[in-house]
Subunit: 320 residues, 2 copies
């Protein structure tokens, strides 16, 4: 009997071990397949939304509008154009607001005509990144055509490092005028900087903020299911403007999204900067500002049950 009991015990132990292994495996699988919203403690049906403003640092008008929007919670995140003249104002504000969610708006273009900026590392150091006047070129195709990868890496590291050295705690990287997805070489640098600085990058599966044609990315690399951002063509009045945003956001299924806005005041400075370029210009940005701060939009987000999150939140959910 004693030996039979021993054999039984032995079998029981084996079975228990197998059961434990099986359960562990199953649990692990469950954790791996959990959606980002679940990993942050929200139901699988939740819709997470980063409300993000681009172009911090560009000028004082952009800074005034965007920093107020961050303080008031009208937006949850923003990213900085480091080569721009008003970057120091952002750095000072960031010290006073250490929990603000700020990223780097990696910049290889300088798109206005009367207000321009060059590479922070200097035209002579990165000659393939500048135009005949020593500024970053006006548009992304010029970058994709001329930029040499070592220059791109050097300049973008300089931009990130300048922000880090100024004491800004960074939460993410994204890109000015979709520059980093405009060629496979630039996209390679984008991924490299992500891994090097251990910061999430803005990347949707496809679309203007998706990988370049012919490049496939793993599901895990995609950080947001879609970037909702306005392109030219919407009627320039408050009602149509707000309606456009509502129509984009309302039908979104469960998942993680970024709403990208461009905030500034329609003031002398901003009109001066954008006088020959109404798209994303002074009046456009004032309408975006009016929209994010409006009671109607805030109420819409609440009714729709959007969960407002930051890039810091998204990064946490991705940690193993």
């Amino acid at each position: 009997m004693k030996s039979e009991v021993t054999v039984m015990n032995h079998r029981m132990r084996l079975l228990l071990a197998l059961l434990f292994a099986c359960l562990t495996q199953s649990l692990a699988q469950t954790s791996e397949s959990k959606t980002l919203q679940e990993r942050l403690g929200y139901p699988i049906s939740a819709r997470l939304l980063v409300i993000h403003a681009d172009d911090l640092g560009m000028d004082h008008s952009v800074n005034r509008a965007t920093l107020e929007a961050l303080e008031q919670g009208w937006i949850t995140s923003a990213s900085i154009l480091v080569p721009c003249p008003w970057f120091p104002e952002v750095a000072r504000w960031a010290k006073q607001h250490p929990n603000a969610d700020l990223g780097i708006h990696l910049a290889l273009t300088s798109e206005w005509t009367d207000l321009r900026w060059g590479p922070v590392s200097g035209a002579g150091r990165v000659p393939s990144l500048v135009d005949a006047h020593g500024y970053l070129p006006l548009d992304t195709p010029d970058v994709a055509r001329n930029a040499k990868t070592p220059d791109v890496e050097y300049e973008l590291r300089s931009q990130i490092d300048r922000a880090k050295n100024a004491g800004i705690p960074l939460t993410h990287l994204d890109m000015h005028m979709a520059g980093m997805v405009s060629s496979s070489e630039l996209f390679g640098v984008y991924r490299k900087l992500r891994d090097e600085y251990k910061l999430p990058i803005l990347l949707e599966a496809s679309g203007t903020h998706g990988p370049p044609a012919g490049i496939s990315v793993s599901t895990d690399e995609v950080t947001v299911q879609r970037v909702v951002t306005m392109e030219p063509g919407v009627a320039p009045n408050g009602k149509d403007w707000l309606d456009w945003y509502k129509k984009q956001l309302a039908p979104l299924p469960a998942g993680v999204y970024q709403l990208t806005v461009h905030l500034a005041y329609d003031d002398e400075e901003m009109r001066g900067a954008t006088w020959d370029h109404p798209d994303w210009g002074a009046a456009w940005r004032q309408r975006d500002l009016d929209m994010v701060k409006s009671a109607e939009f805030r109420q819409f987000l609440k009714e729709q049950g959007f969960v407002l999150v930051t890039w810091k939140d998204l990064a946490k959910a991705r940690q193993p």
Copy 2:
């Protein structure tokens, strides 16, 4: 008789030759000793005045005020901060106003805290000209202490060349925050650039825009007898402000002078740039703008008989 006549003729010729030589010499001496005002066709008692605004390009507020003042004739000349973000707006305006009197405001400092600029040749190329953040330092003593002459020459040539390449016809060179007279080395570069680019430099015999201590300059090198420019301490109201300028200008003896003003609007942008630095700040510059455009100041200049001139005029008078 014939031989006597011949001798007489010979003597007459000799005397005439001597008289001619004497007259030529005397005329030459008169031309050399002529004052600048006489060489421009004004009486020796005339008072010539360049009304000059500094800092073009710094921001849109400065550009708006200064370019309007040039167009309206409230000022006769201005100089440009080439490393600043709004330099392209100045370049575009200059193309539309090819007769405008524009110089380079040679810059080795970036004095505000929220809006800053770096060297146009890049921090890496001229490391002795930048602070820990990659910008030109906040004040002139830092420049005099750290700047290496080859870096200074390279950067200032880059500033002048960028303006020339942008198609701006330059009339003179002067200096931001009296940087070029803050050490004998920097003053050496100032003279060198004058000779190299064949452009007059702003230089008074002594004072904030005079040569550094211990350096003597020839009378011919001095381009203006005095620079009249406000320093902190004047009561900030329109009447005292205007009175200060009148009191400086009224007693000036005959000669050539520069009145240096700083023009901008007291708007959000300018208040943002100068928020922690009321001297030469937004309100200060608005008062200067109100002063130069006021009917009272225009009337005062007329009554006092000041002859308003440009740097282009002064250069003409100096040509041999």
